[in-house]
Amino acid sequence: MCGIVGLYLKNPALEERLGELFEPMLIAMTDRGPDSAGFAIYGDEYDGGVKLTLQSDEPAYDWAVFAERLGDALGGVDGWFRNANAAVFKLACDEKQVRDWLKHHTPELRVLSAGRSIEILKGVGLPRDIASRFNLKAMRGSHAIGHTRMATESAVTLQGCHPFSTGLDLCLVHNGSLSNHNWLRAKLKREGIVFETDNDSEVAAGYLTWRLAKGGGLTQALEGALEDLDGFFTFAIGTRDGFAVVRDPISCKPAVIAETDDYVAMASEYRALAGLPGIQSAKVWEPEPARIHVWERDGAKVEAA
């Protein structure tokens, strides 16, 4: 069992309160996943290059020294800030350039996310503790997705925490378990996708990365996932402009959507949505199995797969 939550704000006036609205949703899913938690938050858009969330296992890591080294090597850092054991960097260069430099000079750092808008923060522990470690409630932005984990297929480690980055401004959270992940991981490795763990959800993320690199967009990649992934899943996929929800055809992993004029919210269980403003008059329903539900700035769409 795991819990997943997503909140997309249609009303920009609420953006100041994204973290405050989203934190209780994440914590409400503690019963479904008490061993780790994480979230991806979209906002604070940076158009000058790439924004990366980096993480260190060393609590006293000297990010200021690192920032100086990185700036010297890559022609300056446009901005950076530290958040607990993670730090967000804005750099006026492309993603590959930074990743190559990091790989050679600071292999001890982990890249949790890359893009213009996304920041991924996660860790082992109770959702309440993870949210408070990163001060989630004070965060602002347009949308967020989150995950509370009850590990079934692999160890309780930071590497096994969700969300998993699947490309620029893209990430995935998963409730369920995949049964063909070993075979699929081997296949994707041959295609050049790199995996850090033996986690099944990381394979789903790797699969989307691989499909998206082939072109065709998110909907097509998710159609492929419905075809090629065997097992139980409800996925929420964060995109730069919104989020998508997909359930496998058997749909034993739950999902509930609530929509008002102000927001679209999804969660594994209604309990997580119960505290949202105006929820009493929201339209509340279950997303259909084997359909791709997408909410983005240009409106909602549901596609048959």
Partner: protein, 227 residues
């Protein structure tokens, strides 16, 4: 009327109070406010009382119900009225998967839609759904009736035993060993009575009946040599 507010009272306290009811001396009308999607609300009732839940309920709402009449003024999560024995459970909104699972008796009415596996392994319950039902509904249904005024999803009645299925709308596909059957007068009568009990103004003649072809579960003498 006795009112419980689940934003302040504990769920266990509520359910214990409902179990302790003696209908000859206790309050027979109960109202539950701020359910906020909590699981296991009004489970295991065994008295002729009426319970109104004002909002969305979580999993297993009114599970194992006997005698009581429970109305949910909202949606319900997984397994509403699962293993119900008698009484009436009415859902004003939608029901998640496995509504009425394994239920032996009573009447479950869903005024919205029901998701996958509605009436899975039903054993005598009557289920009336005003909207649509999801895939794999009435899977291994042994006895009872499932009435659907809207459409049915894939694999309706897979591995069906003797449950009676009535669908007014489109059936996406029938499961293994489920076939369409003739509506005989006794079926029209049975369906008409259920629609009346559910308070629905529908014409029984507009429905089609589905049932077991009895090819899967009946022992066939032709197979005797296999044993």
């Amino acid at each position: 009327m006795k009112t419980y507010d689940l934003s302040s009272a504990s769920l266990r306290e509520l359910n214990q109070s409902l179990h302790d009811v003696d209908p000859t001396i206790s309050e027979r009308e109960w109202r539950i406010v701020s359910p906020n999607g909590a699981h296991n609300i009004a489970c295991g009732l065994d008295a002729d009382i009426s319970v109104d839940i004002e909002g969305h309920a979580g999993y297993y709402c009114a599970g194992m119900n006997q005698k009581a009449s429970v109305t949910v003024h909202g949606n319900v999560g997984v397994g509403v009225a699962e293993n119900m024995m008698s009484g009436v459970v009415r859902v004003k909104g939608d029901a998640s998967q496995s509504a009425g699972a394994t239920a032996h008796g009573g009447l479950l009415i869903i005024e919205g839609n029901a998701a996958a596996r509605c009436g899975i392994s039903m054993k005598g319950v009557s289920i009336v759904v005003k909207g649509d039902i999801g895939p794999m509904s009435a899977f291994m249904g042994q006895a009872g009736c499932l009435v659907v005024c809207g459409d049915a999803g894939e694999a309706l009645g897979d591995s069906l035993y003797e449950a009676h299925l009535y669908v007014k709308g489109h059936v996406a596909s029938l499961g293994a060993d489920c076939i369409e059957k003739e509506m005989r007068p006794k079926h029209v009568e049975e369906l008409g009575a259920l629609l009346r009990q559910a308070g629905l103004d529908e014409d029984p003649a507009a429905f089609r009946r589905y049932g077991s072809a009895r090819e899967l579960y009946n022992f066939k003498v032709d197979n005797a040599s296999a044993y």
